[in-house]
């Protein structure tokens, strides 16, 4: 062991009681911030889908607490606060900063972050941060994902490189006016801004109360110890892994400026002796003139998410733990550090999933029990951005909003099947789903179905979760639908004999009865009675399907997760179908089937 891995006995130089207590208090503050934003947000992507995150960062730009924040949102928060302290030496109590600049640590332009520096006794101790995906961010087209913008000028969204939006607890009206002028839904934007600001202010208030109670010295000492503890936990988890170099690849479907697709290769160097993992993302293609480039924040987060997913230990997720993960990035690389004016409009989705997936999959090369299969990561119909004009109340009310009605299938794991409510790799399982009734009340639309597809989860000893298919369209006026789905040609892969999940599907059924397949990335305008119908991607399976417990296969058939045919052909399990409609496992036939056709 090196000197950085301390022995447990001299590990904690802080009241061992106060350590978990204060860690819990900070998490609780983040949850209260989260609740504030959720309950008060105006766009449905916030108040139903919860596509936002809150966290607390130290004055030294260490991520301290993030509760159930979206993985891709919070892990890089320290980069944003760093730009705040560098750009604003005048930092004072009552300030709030609007930050959505992907070149200064933000995820992508559509995520507006509010940073509130928290002062105590005249000193900046923490920053309360709240980041929310906007209904609209002033892009050239009514979507927050500009797939084919060749640069930020074509993207067109308003950029705020960490600018003051409040001084002395009052709005800087200039900034408010700029947003109101250039954002398509100004009132909704302002309501969402208030919700985000409110969340950060709640955090500020609670942090000050906490420091009041325990004193600034104790709290700062806690921060040091908690980050050190987290680092030790991470080092201990890595120390249990074998020393290995792993490589895995994953390819984003072809697009116009990358006709062969975008292949991403991740190289991992596991160094148990040093308690460290190095992820090298440098050997990858250069940036492309489209919105698919990752920002530095999302490239870094992607590698870290993949590792955290594959480390089963209960390691706190903060900058202390991340000291044990080294991510090597290259300037000008599509999964690295994009130079201006490259567009990163899709940096929180498409290519990002092609970083997370191979990292978590690579660990399976260490053998059964390690790593995960790949999760579905498409943004098709179920995550489309819809826009149009609502004329139902006699007035003309424009709307723009991202739907969260579908889900990709989660990956099979060494111990269980994938999660149906997985969402996608960068926000696995924490995002909520829209209510059909609330959507139909909010927008002039009707949702016809949200259904899980039989046989869409990748087969395995532990099955990938099925994909969700959705169908919706406008009720009276035209609706434009933007979608940006990967995973049509390169589905989520299984591991250790597990099979891939189903690919994305997308089509439009017209009111006149005709039906056309849609390119998975693009937009379409629907008239009354037209529908978009599409399924996201199924999750990959973990392990050989022939090793799946026949009782689970039986349950899968009864519950409709898989067909009787798949039970026989893919899982090697034969069922009796009784006259009363019940199924049971035909043990003898299954045994013969599984021995005669080994996989």
């Amino acid at each position: 062991m090196t000197e950085t891995i301390e022995t447990l006995s001299d590990a904690i130089d802080f009241d061992p009681v106060l350590l978990p207590v204060l860690a819990g208090r900070f998490e609780t503050i983040v949850r209260e911030m989260t609740n504030t934003l959720f309950r008060t947000g105006r766009s449905s992507v916030l108040n139903m889908a919860r596509d936002f995150s809150c966290c607390i960062v130290t004055a030294d730009n260490d991520l301290l607490a993030c509760a159930e924040g979206l993985q891709v949102h919070v892990l890089g928060a320290g980069m944003q606060t760093e730009s705040m302290t560098e750009l604003h030496p005048e930092l004072a109590p009552g300030d709030a900063y609007l930050h959505n600049d992907p070149f200064l640590g933000n995820t992508h332009t559509a995520d507006h972050t509010i940073l509130v520096p928290v002062f105590y006794g005249g000193r900046h101790l923490f920053t309360a941060a709240a980041k929310a995906h906007q209904g609209d961010c002033g892009n050239a087209e009514p979507t927050t994902y500009m797939a084919f913008a060749e640069d930020i000028y074509a993207e067109g969204g308003l950029n705020f490189p960490c600018v003051a939006i409040q001084r002395d607890y009052s709005d800087v009206e200039d900034i408010i006016r700029m947003c109101r002028r250039r954002i398509r839904v100004p009132d909704i934007w302002y309501g969402d801004y208030l919700a985000t600001l409110g969340a950060a202010r709640v955090g500020e208030r609670r942090i000050i109360e906490l420091v009041d109670k325990y004193g600034p010295e104790t709290v700062q000492q806690f921060v040091t110890e908690w980050l050190n503890y987290s680092e030790r936990s991470m080092a201990a988890a890595i120390a249990r892994l074998p020393e290995r170099q792993l490589t895995a690849s994953s390819t984003h479907d072809p697009i116009d400026c990358a006709p062969e697709g975008i292949p991403i290769t991740v190289k991992l160097d596991i160094k148990p002796a040093e308690g460290k993992i190095v992820v090298d993302l440098r050997d990858n293609p250069d940036c492309i003139p489209a919105g698919f480039n990752l920002s530095q924040a999302t490239a870094t987060s992607g590698a870290i998410i993949g590792i955290l997913n594959a480390i089963p230990e209960d390691v706190p997720r903060n900058s202390g733990a991340f000291r044990r993960i080294e991510v090597e990035l290259r300037e000008g690389c599509i999964v690295g550090i994009p130079p201006e004016p490259m567009s990163t409009s899709l940096a929180t989705t498409n290519v990002l999933e092609r970083v997370i997936n191979p990292v978590q999959r690579a660990f399976a090369q260490l053998g059964f029990g390690h790593g995960l299969a790949e999760g579905g990561g498409a943004c098709g119909a179920g995550f489309a951005v819809i826009s149009g004009v609502d004329r139902r109340t006699g007035t003309e009310r424009p709307y723009v909003n991202q739907l969260v009605v579908g889900s990709n299938g989660g990956p099979g794991t060494p111990t269980c099947d994938g999660w149906v409510t997985y969402c996608m790799p960068d926000a696995a399982m924490v995002v909520y789903s829209d209510s059909v009734e609330v959507l139909e009340q909010r927008f002039p639309m009707q949702v016809n179905h949200i259904r899980l597809l039989t046989d869409s989860g990748g087969a395995g000893q532990f099955r990938g979760a099925p994909a969700t298919e959705v169908a919706f369209g406008p009720t009276d006026t035209d609706m434009t639908v933007y979608y940006f789905a990967d995973f049509a040609q390169h589905p989520a892969l299984g591991v250790l004999g597990g099979l891939p999940g189903s690919p994305v599907t997308l089509r439009r059924d017209n009111a006149d009865g005709t039906s056309v397949d849609l390119a998975p990335i693009g937009d379409t305008t629907l008239g009354a009675g037209d529908m978009v119908i599409g399924a996201e991607a199924g999750g990959g399976g973990y392990g050989d399907p022939y090793l799946r417990d026949p009782a689970l296969v039986l349950d899968d058939v009864v519950e409709g997760w898989i067909s009787v045919d798949a039970a026989v052909e893919v899982y090697g399990v034969r069922l009796h179908h009784h006259e009363d409609g019940q199924y049971t496992v035909n043990d003898d036939a299954t045994r013969i089937l599984r021995t005669r056709s080994p996989r």
Binding site: S9, R39, Y190, S233, C416, M429, Y432, V436, E437, G581
Partner: protein, 668 residues
């Protein structure tokens, strides 16, 4: 004073509380047994009757009102032992209960299996129909299609059917049609219908409500009938009510129609006791009785609820099981949160050197190391033993003789791993455990949330059953009548309120001659800013509503509430007023909390106990060693039958005339 009996049948103990015989409130206790519907009821009744020098059947004969509360409904839902139930949904939405609303705690956890839906997919049937947001029928439901669905239900051999169709809250025609056909074709099958049980927007929430409700009907109807029969045969002839998750009570014939209100009904009674005792003790050291945190420690859980401005806090987000992944009741109920921490929770050192307590528990066999039954892992109880807070001879009323050295061994070994001596380790375990140890850890808990005063009522060991003595008949009526601050439909709102008043009045008339002494109506309007989707409850009254500037008054009340909860408000934004509600309360007689008789103090003892790392020869007092009006300064231990109250240094202890303990932090 009318005699009232309340019973709370919990998972471990049956608590029974009597008021009206003499002036004292009497608590009887017994272990719960699940072999008969009435469980430990007779034993608990006998225990209470003994203290009143009455025969149990004599006590029952004198009783006018019996309040029943049981954990049976909650347990059946959590253990999946409710009746086989089918769910009918609009075609296209079979997966409502599978997908719920998404979300989960613990991102990065890929080892927890995806939860099964409350009703399996193969018992969820899609109905070919659709109603639009406007109420317009987009796809008519034919009787042939309805009957086809009924044929499939018949084959499925279910005992109950839950119906939740999209937009039934604006047009219930299709839900009504299905209900009629099912009642006619399958009269023995119980039916719950979403627009009647829980008329709220959000299809998953209605589906979840009816699924839980329907699945409880056959079971709980049978159970309540059995309880009724048993009580009648035991000599009871008074009125019979059951506690609800709103902290009120309903007559059996009402609750049998909506048994979902029985789920989590016991814990919802605790805030009623908290309110009653803090009101009674006002003046004797308790100042503000409007804002109260109520903590109730059970054998395996610690329940916390909140009273704000004299009203228990209500939520629509009550999950049975874990948030997001358990089962949502979807109905308004008192907000009671539980932590699974008890005396048996095991302490361990996690990788990285962090002390953790629970979630693993040693249970009662082998139990904590100090039980001497073979347990070797240190538990919360062992930590208390090491600190000298427990008496080896009188633990659990003397039923278990504690092996204190074994506790020292177990805790000491754990401490070695993090370089702490046994006493510091033990103190650490109790702090990290939080609620697990009742009176022993309440002071550090309340200190952490900034409270400086704790009231422990004499009936703390049976808080829920006691609360039922202070609860009333409670029903909520709702009228959906959306309007806005920008175009306030004053006449429409007044008409909606009049309709509410009519409903509440009709409900009130049914309560004549049932012991209700008065009637109180609380009015609430659910409001939000335009484009928000979650609302806040804003109380209003006739004075506000009849004022010429009613809209302005309502909106500023909303702005203030939004500012208070969320630190921001938006006075220039339109406010939407959606659902208008009345909570109608048929006030029942509440017993007085009066001075408690005193008995002779026992001889004073001392025990070595650890405070702040130092061994202190600490006085051990009994209830009767304390004299009202006098303060005792910590450190002090108070040995009670059910727990030990630990008064640390810088805190003082008083007993009130009524037998409540009040712990106060000394002013520094």
């Amino acid at each position: 004073m009318p005699v009232r009996i309340t019973v709370d049948i919990g998972g471990t103990c049956t608590d029974l509380v009597v008021s009206g015989v003499g002036d004292q409130i009497v608590v009887g206790k017994a272990l719960t047994t699940f072999d008969a519907p009435e469980g430990g009821l007779w034993e608990a009744l006998s225990d209470a009757a003994r203290q009143l020098d009455l025969a149990p059947d004599e006590l029952l004969r004198q009783t006018e009102l019996f309040v029943y509360s049981t954990t049976r409904a909650t347990n059946a839902i959590l253990e999946g032992t409710t009746s086989p139930t089918a769910l009918l949904v609009t075609e296209g939405f079979r997966d409502l209960l599978v997908r719920k609303e998404g979300g989960r705690l613990r991102p990065y956890d890929f080892a927890t299996p995806f939860p099964k839906p409350y009703i399996p997919r193969h018992l969820t049937f899609e109905v070919p129909e659709r109603i639009a947001v406007t109420g317009e029928v987009v796809r008519p439901l034919t009787t042939a299609a309805a009957d086809d669905v009924i044929d499939r239900i018949r084959l499925a051999n279910v005992e109950a059917v839950a119906i939740a169709l999209v937009w039934s809250i604006v047009n219930p025609a299709h839900e009504d049609l299905l209900t009629q056909r099912i009642n006619a074709a399958l009269p023995e099958v119980a039916v719950s219908v979403s627009h009647r049980l829980n008329p709220v927007i959000r299809e998953f929430r209605r589906a979840s409500s009816v699924a839980l409700d329907a699945s409880l009907k056959p079971l709980m109807q049978k159970h309540l009938h059995a309880i009724d029969q048993w009580l009648r045969s035991a000599g009871y002839s008074g009125r019979l009510v059951a506690a609800t998750s709103l902290g009120g009570v309903l007559f059996f014939e009402d609750i049998i129609e909506r048994p979902i209100y029985l789920a989590k009904s016991g814990p919802a009674l605790a805030p009623m006791a908290g309110l009653a005792y803090s009101a009674a003790e006002a003046g004797s050291g308790v100042k503000d009785v409007r804002d109260i945190v109520v903590c109730d420690t059970g054998g395996t859980s610690f329940d916390v609820s909140l009273v704000r401005g004299g009203r228990p806090v209500v939520t629509r987000e009550t999950w049975l099981g874990e948030t997001h992944t358990g089962h949502l009741t979807g109905l308004a109920s008192l907000d009671v949160r539980s932590v699974g921490a008890g005396g048996g929770s095991i302490a361990r050192i996690a990788a990285g050197g962090l002390l953790q307590v629970g979630p693993r528990s040693a249970g009662s066999d082998p139990g904590p190391a100090c039980y001497g039954l073979g347990g070797v892992e240190p538990t919360v109880t062992d930590a208390a033993a090491v600190l000298g807070y427990l008496d080896a001879e009188s633990f659990l009323g003397g039923r278990v003789r504690l092996n204190i050295p074994a506790a020292h061994d177990a805790v000491g070994k754990l401490g070695e791993q993090i370089g702490l001596d046994p006493a510091r380790t033990a103190a650490a375990i109790l702090t990290v455990a939080g609620g697990g140890a009742a009176g022993m850890t309440i002071v550090p808990i309340v200190e952490a949330i900034g409270c400086s005063r704790v009231l422990i009522p004499p009936t703390a060991g049976a808080l829920s059953a006691t609360g039922a003595h202070f609860s009333d008949v409670l029903r909520e009526f709702t009228r959906s009548y959306p309007t806005t601050s920008a175009a306030f439909d004053h006449d429409g709102v007044v008409a909606a309120k009049r309709a509410l008043d009519d409903e509440a009045r009709a409900f009130g008339e049914r309560l004549h001659g049932t012991g209700v002494t008065g009637f109180e109506w609380d009015y609430i309007v659910e409001s939000r800013y335009a484009e928000q989707i979650w609302d806040l409850e804003v109380p209003f009254d006739d004075e506000m509503l009849n004022a010429p500037d009613a809209a302005a008054r309502l909106r500023s009340a909303f702005d203030a509430e939004h500012q208070r909860i969320f630190t921001v408000s938006d006075p220039s934004e339109t406010v939407e007023f959606l659902a208008w509600k009345v909570r109608a309360r048929g006030v029942l007689h509440h017993p007085d909390i009066v001075a408690a008789p005193r008995t002779e103090p026992a001889p004073r003892r001392h025990r070595a106990a650890v405070f702040e790392g130092h061994i202190v020869d600490t006085p051990v007092l009994g209830r009767d060693d304390l004299i009202p009006g006098e303060s005792t300064t910590g450190p002090v231990l108070v040995q009670l039958v059910t727990t030990t109250i630990v008064v640390p240094p810088r805190w003082t202890l008083q007993i009130t005339d009524r037998g409540s303990f009040i712990l106060s932090k000394e002013q520094s």
